[in-house]
Amino acid sequence: MKLALLSDIHSNRQALDACMDHARAQGAQHFAWLGDLVGYGADPGYVVRQAMALVAEGHCVIGGNHDALAVHPPAPGDRAASTVAAQGAGWTHNQLTPPERAFLANLPLVAEVGGVLLVHASADAPERWRYVDNEAVAGQCLDAAAQRPGIRHVFCGHVHRQTLYYRGTGRGLMRFAPQPGVAIPVAPRRQWVATIGSVGQPRDGDPRAMYALLDTDAWLLRFERVPYDHAAAAAAIRATNAMPDYFALRLEAGR
């Protein structure tokens, strides 16, 4: 099975379409979205409707912290309302219809597809939204996932970077920076944790969208970078007249 893994779409319609088209052209048959469908971007309604259609076809969508925020945006004056993540959460909330909000509210936080575990943040406490951004957290995430029978691979989003953690000959996990477009053998003989990067909000200085393709027959994992019309996505953010200009700027810079 060829499974396309997309995460942190952040209401970026242009990046989402580019990644989905790319994945289909690569022969992806199944899709899994790893949370943070909305927030920051200009097209929350479009992205959520796409997700609802996917779920109706039997694909997998799980929830992230921004999806929870859009359902219950912090009230103005609330301490949580001053964070960057919360900016525009109220606007996003208002763009969504009640059924769309209900869809987001009911997303699972963890799912198993094709023998791999999918979670937005760390699998050891999905609701705490821990960043899997070092070997130690990746190890805890893996230990929690390995409690489930047959699980050798965990795929996460949330950190907006593409990283593969694996066990070398020592006890702890090792960090590996993958080269986009190279198929990496990830045989289930070993255990693996991957953060697949962000579709709609790249933050490593490269504005191209990120996703990953997993072949669960050959056990090959390919991290991808896809160019998309980030100028159009930034223009759409400015056109809302509600989101901070900073959200548009960072798409152009990939920061």
Binding site: G168, F176, V182, R189
Partner: protein
């Protein structure tokens, strides 16, 4: 682990006979069982020893080879055919190559002559370079892992300890430990660096030292302290073992064995180049050395080595791209000053942005030019004259940080000679004049620059004569 009986069938392959039974694996000749397509070359099957008594390293290194061998290409590796599932039935089927390993030369009575050592060494350099161009460092080059299908062509075997920069390194661990064969392992490998192509150059240096002298430069240490010795120690000069060795060969071998990777040849292509052009190797103190460095030098290096620790390496391809071999074809007939000037400008610019590049200045002369008197003396004189001209041409270039060499080729077909030279020496970039050798007059015939651009295995820069003189003249007249 029990040996398989001839006639046993494994996943569609029939076992013929066992050709190697080592500590890590058994290797069998196999063929496709009846009915399967014939790949057109003989096959070998490698089965790792994986029973309880065998070490866990066996399994990991088999896993590493399983990762790397299928993606390697080119004439310097055996072709991959099939692999068995690691959990169920681990095996690798690959091309079976006939030839002799380097061990054969080491076991032979007497040491090979200098020309043979250079030929074998250059072949190893070319093979290693081909691997490095694919982002792989072998990291376990030793006489048993280098197979010569003939004297000029080496095939590298056994990728169980190799490192592919695009894949997670399964042999890495947080407490970096030396992985490799003690006699041939490079100093940086001792402190856990995996992925520097210059580690393979060190191993080739150890093998050249063995070929030349019959001795191992650092012995075969069995303790970590013994291994660390090579972080600061220079071996006894090869000429002390064998005084008839030329200085250039000692220079080349000891350069491979420099404790600091940065002091070795910057790429295996540079090493192969030196071994193929002995007369162009600049001999330094290293080549003339009568004994190893004194206690003072060793002590200074020892202090420096005490602080040496693991550092990640950049991608091998990026490392070797920074140190290309740049070749310039300098014409000698019908050539204007403007052409020579423009060529020099282009070479200067190309070298300026590549600090580690080496420059090979080549000129092609007609074979008839030297055969008129049929005397070897006059041929040498003619070559000397052309080399002097090349040197003169290169004089204005700032070559302080670049190694440079001068070559006179004799050939009737200039384009073919240039292309062959580029192929034979892993040249990354060739610079030649666009308008030389008759481009303007022969519009419908394949001219030298066109044929070179079409056939060369590397980037070709065609230089037009944009000459200050003519331009100045035009500007004045306007």
């Amino acid at each position: 682990m029990k040996l398989l009986e001839p006639g046993t069938e494994i996943d569609g392959f029939t076992v013929l006979e066992c050709i190697h039974s080592g500590g890590m694996a058994h290797i069998y000749r196999v063929e496709y069982a009846v009915g399967a397509p014939n790949p057109g070359f003989p096959l070998a099957m490698k089965i790792p020893r994986m029973t309880a008594g065998d070490g866990a390293e066996n399994i990991v290194s088999f896993e590493v080879e399983l990762q790397i061998l299928p993606v390697l290409t080119g004439p310097h590796v055996p072709r991959f055919v099939a692999a068995g599932d690691l959990e169920r039935l681990p095996y690798l089927v690959m091309e079976y190559l006939t030839g002799r390993t380097l061990q054969h030369w080491l076991d032979a009575a007497g040491r090979p002559d200098v020309a043979t050592i250079a030929r074998l060494g250059a072949a190893m350099g070319r093979a290693a370079h081909s691997l490095h161009q694919q982002n792989v460092c072998h990291l376990d080059l030793k006489p048993g892992n280098v197979l010569f299908t003939h004297d000029d062509h080496a095939v590298l075997l056994d990728f169980g300890l190799s490192c592919h920069a695009h894949y997670p390194d399964l042999l890495a661990e947080e407490l970096r430990r030396a992985v490799g064969s003690p006699a041939w392992i490079a100093p940086e490998q001792v402190v856990g660096v995996r992925g520097d192509p210059r580690s393979d150059i060190f191993a080739i240096g150890v093998m050249l030292y063995e070929l030349a002298t019959g001795e191992l430069p650092f012995g075969a240490p069995t303790t970590p302290g013994g291994l660390r010795q090579r972080l600061w120690m220079s071996p006894m000069p090869p000429r002390q073992h064998r005084p008839d060795l030329p200085e250039w060969l000692q220079e080349t071998i000891l350069r491979c064995l420099e404790p600091e990777a940065a002091k070795r040849h910057p790429s295996a292509a540079h090493l192969a180049f030196d071994l193929a052009h002995p007369d162009q190797v600049p001999v330094t103190e290293r080549g003339q050395r009568q004994r190893g460095p004194g206690a003072r030098t060793h002590f200074k290096r020892w202090i420096k080595a005490a602080g040496m620790h693991y550092q990640p390496s950049p991608l091998p391809t990026r490392q070797i791209e920074e140190v290309p071999i740049v070749m310039v074809a300098v014409p000698h007939d019908d050539v204007t000053d403007a052409t020579l000037y423009s060529l020099r400008q282009a070479v200067g610019r190309s070298l300026g942005i590549r600090p580690g590049a080496r420059l090979a200045c080549v000129t092609v002369i007609s074979p008839s030019a030297s055969s008129s008197t049929d005397s070897e003396h006059s041929e040498t004189a003619l070559h000397r004259q052309h080399r002097a001209r090349l040197r003169q041409w290169a004089e204005p270039l700032d070559l302080a940080d670049h190694s440079v060499s001068y070559h006179v080729l004799e050939a009737g077909d200039v384009a073919q000679a240039l292309v062959r030279y580029a192929e034979g020496n892993q040249v990354s970039m060739m610079i030649l004049g666009a308008a030389t050798h008759g481009l303007q007059t022969q519009r419908f015939i394949a001219t030298v620059p066109m044929r070179v651009a079409r056939d060369a295995p590397c980037t070709v820069i065609l230089v037009k004569q944009a000459l200050p003189f003519a331009q100045l003249a035009r500007e004045y007249s306007e």
